[in-house]
């Protein structure tokens, strides 16, 4: 990968705000594993259009309630084009402060959340930075409303008496009504009514009730009763519920996309679990997340008492202290996190917070899918009672790029392994599953890289351990090709540069063969040939524009590898990699182009297999592809990468819902956001494994990784994929993982 391009990214940034770097500068920046001094400010080139908009509004609103802005700008930008949204927001910014929050927000601000939430157990939680809705489902009579930022001491028990045997949402509707809250006037329900679903003995008697505005009859149940809908005045709920014909009366619920598609399609809800299985939400199992942006204050990661569910949080780029793991970064204990939570701004209090990304941080979303408890968003993740250890990943050589880079999504191979080591060490003797959503395109793709060997070694140390990795999202990027260089004559691979973004080519072939490589530029200029075991630098003094190497016998697998790096800014579109066999033998090869999120180069003739990420080909790790869990046919996600590995093993092993997944949004307290990717599929499997571990532990059994993998694969659901049971599909794996794997029977 042209590393300058990668470094130019920022969390949530797009390519729109980027300026181009000359090839010479790009070459100078190509370093890895080297520590450099920190710069003081982020490069302006990394700011996206949406970030600029956000910042301009922030500036215009200096001194006003800034915490509402992320949700507000996002909501507007979701409705309007950026220029239009900008004009409106700039206009609003010129108005009085009081006019901003409620007048501007649209009625469908799905991501906003109350600043203070009263949990079901009536525990009062501290405020977290959040946006305030103008009109949302929170204004329904059956929902809690935002309240003014108050101290806990100012709140008191209200003198409300309601029948506790009633549906909780109806209880809340009555409580809201008795405290003077007026509900929303909706298309079908006025503000003093509540929509209900009832099971009744007689439809006629139901429709005859004087307080009922009847809706529709949905049909009969097995016992002869009927399911009906209707509207009931809130103050008459208790009276209606007491009518002899009523068997059950429940309030309707706002329906929105949530994690429920993941839970339902994987059959991991309590109701769908195998008979006799009681994994109790993964209690006493530890889920480790190595990612970016942990919103420890989000309600989904706090227990009923408001305490954090995080056992530890390690910020690898934080300031080191004597107790820092492996001598670097900042570790936060559960006690430190709990101490920060009551603060007006818990992130400031702790000294760590998720980046202010308009679409929420990746790590918070991932963590919710695996382990969220739904106390904020109302939908729990797969293992809502598991303990959580989060590692905010960082790379050892990015400090030189400044704070904006710190919030970027880069880890590195060594610190990734150390993160996993930290998580398993923290878990101690508890079962533990670790989720990784990092990867790039290059590498041997045969499980022999040292980082993959290291992951395998950690998993093999003890039973009740697993590492789950996203397959990657590169299926549509044309980043892999394969073929055979003939025994005689040239073989050409066309490498398509995009927008002069440069790129990095990597080709692996058998160690017994010998290839000569030449690069031909768009204008016909020839660079090379480079002989086996040699390399070639091309450029000007102090500025390499092209680097070619032909390495023999990698020490891990003894295969040969050809690498070509093309600096950003090189003119032309198509570059030809010309290969010639030197030993009179045909040579099979696989080649990849490294990731570049701004200007992804591709092959003119890509091959759509072997597109797994660089660390997704290990022997013991579990690799996960993505499908859409919202659709009945569970179609593959078009981005989901394909196996097998270069040495012919069947990975990914499994697939899970990873498309359009609604899960926790950072810095909202309770909000959610939609994201797609194999990064969203992997944590679903991570949560499932936590449930499997919990069930095995309940039965007093240890699960070695071999048995865990076998159980997951043998229980996977097919159709799709359209393959016989027990066989493998290149993208679904052995099938769709599900709760049947929780049944604790040895495979």
């Amino acid at each position: 990968m042209a590393k300058k391009s990668s470094r130019g990214s920022s969390a949530g940034a797009s390519s729109k705000g980027r300026t181009r770097t000359p090839a010479s500068t790009a070459a100078k920046k190509a370093a890895s594993g080297t520590k450099k001094p920190a710069a003081k400010s982020p490069p302006a080139a990394t700011i996206s259009a949406s970030d600029r908009l956000h910042r301009s509004i922030k500036t215009a609103l200096a001194g006003r309630p800034l915490d509402v802005l992320p949700g507000l700008t996002e909501a507007w930008m979701g409705l309007l084009s950026v220029p239009a949204a900008q004009r409106w927001l700039q206009h609003l910014a010129s108005l009085a402060p009081a006019a901003l929050p409620t007048a501007a927000a649209p009625p469908t601000a799905a991501v906003v959340a109350p600043a203070v939430v009263v949990a079901p157990a009536a525990v009062v939680l501290p405020a977290v930075p959040a946006a305030t809705p103008a009109a949302s489902s929170d204004m329904l009579g059956t929902r809690l409303s935002p309240v003014d930022n108050s101290s806990a001491q100012s709140l008191r028990t209200l003198p409300i008496k309601i029948d506790t045997a009633m549906d909780p949402r109806l209880q809340l509707a009555l409580a809201n009504h008795q405290t003077g809250k007026s509900g929303l006037n909706l298309a079908s329900t006025t503000g003093d009514e509540v929509a209900v679903i009832a099971r009744v003995k007689s439809v006629e008697e139901w429709e005859a009730l004087p307080d009922i505005f009847a809706g529709c009859n949905l049909g009969k149940t097995g016992d002869g009763s009927s399911i009906v809908t209707g509207r009931v005045p809130i103050q008459r709920i208790e009276a209606v519920r007491a009518e002899p014909t009523i068997v059950s009366l429940k309030a309707s619920q706002p329906v929105g996309p949530t994690l429920s598609a993941t839970i339902q399609s994987m059959l991991v809800s309590d109701q769908a679990l195998p008979a006799n299985a009681a994994p109790d939400g993964g209690r006493d199992v530890v889920i480790g997340i190595v990612d970016f942006g942990c919103d420890f204050a989000h309600r989904n990661f706090r227990d009923q008492n408001g305490n954090s569910r995080l056992l530890a949080l390690w910020h690898q780029n934080g300031a080191a202290r004597p107790d820092s793991p492996f001598g670097y970064g900042r570790k936060y204990t559960a006690a430190e996190i709990d101490a920060a939570l009551p603060a007006p701004n818990p992130y400031t209090a702790l000294g760590y917070g998720p980046a202010e990304a308009l679409d929420g941080t990746h790590g918070t979303h991932v963590m919710d899918i695996a382990a969220g408890n739904g106390l904020g968003s109302t939908q729990a993740g797969v293992a809502p009672k598991a303990g959580i250890v989060f590692v905010e990943a960082a790379t050892s050589d990015l400090a030189s790029e400044g704070p904006a880079t710190v919030n970027q999504a880069f880890g590195d191979s060594v610190q990734l392994l150390e993160a996993v080591r930290f998580i398993f060490d923290t878990a101690g003797d508890k079962p533990c599953v670790c989720n990784l959503s990092l990867g790039t395109n290059g590498g041997p793709h045969d499980g022999t890289s040292l980082v993959e060997q290291g992951l395998d070694a950690i998993v093999r140390e003890k039973p009740n351990r697993a590492v789950v990795i996203a397959a990657s999202n590169s299926q549509l990027h044309g980043i892999h090709t394969s073929g055979q260089v003939p025994a005689a004559g040239n073989h050409e691979i066309i490498w398509q540069q995009r927008s002069q973004g440069g790129g990095e080519f990597e080709m692996w072939y058998g160690g017994a063969r010998r290839l000569e490589v030449t690069l031909v530029a768009t204008d016909g200029t020839v660079f090379g040939p480079v002989q086996p075991g040699d390399n070639l630098s091309i450029g000007q003094t102090g500025a390499i524009a092209i680097f070619m190497s032909s390495r023999l016998s990698d020490p891990n697998n003894h295969d040969n590898v050809i690498g070509i790096w093309l600096a950003e800014g090189m003119p032309g579109d198509n570059f030809v990699v010309r290969l010639r066999s030197l030993d009179g033998q045909p040579v099979d090869y696989h080649a990849w182009i490294e990731r570049n999120d701004f200007a992804q180069a591709s092959f003119a003739a890509p091959v759509s297999t072997h597109t797994l990420g660089s660390i997704s080909t290990g022997h013991e790790t579990v690799v996960v592809g993505s499908y859409d869990g919202h659709k009945p046919a569970f179609p593959l996600s078009n981005f989901s990468s394909a196996g097998p590995t270069r040495d012919g093993r069947n990975k990914p092993e499994l697939s899970a819902p990873g498309q359009n997944v609604m899960a926790a949004k950072s810095r909202t307290g309770t909000g959610i956001v939609r994201k797609s990717g194999t990064s969203m599929a992997a944590p679903a499997i991570t949560g499932l494994i936590a449930l499997i571990f919990a069930e095995a532990r309940r039965n007093g059994r240890d699960l070695p990784i071999s048995e865990l993998r076998a159980r997951l694969q043998s229980n996977a659901t097919i159709n799709p994929p359209a393959v016989p049971a027990g066989t493998w599909d290149g993208r679904y794996g052995f099938g769709r993982a599900n709760g049947g794997s929780i049944q604790d029977t040895p495979v």
Partner: protein, 87 residues
Amino acid sequence: MAIDFKSLKKLESLPASVQAEPHGDEDRLVVLIKVRQGADHPSYIVPRAKMGPDIFSAEIRAGDLSRIESDPAVETVSVSRQIPLIK
């Protein structure tokens, strides 16, 4: 003195972009080292984290790569490389 990556047979293959960057002996590198089965870690390297019986991480001088290359206890060494988020 600049490190000649081409001469380091025990070094896991590096991306071309990393090879293109010159490294001096005093540069600090974060590495993974795999020692031969049953061998102890080299005395001149302080392990940072152990990933198993044979693999550990360490921070070293780039100049130590030559010493590692000639150390019979070391099987292979990998210089840390960036791994971006899959998104």
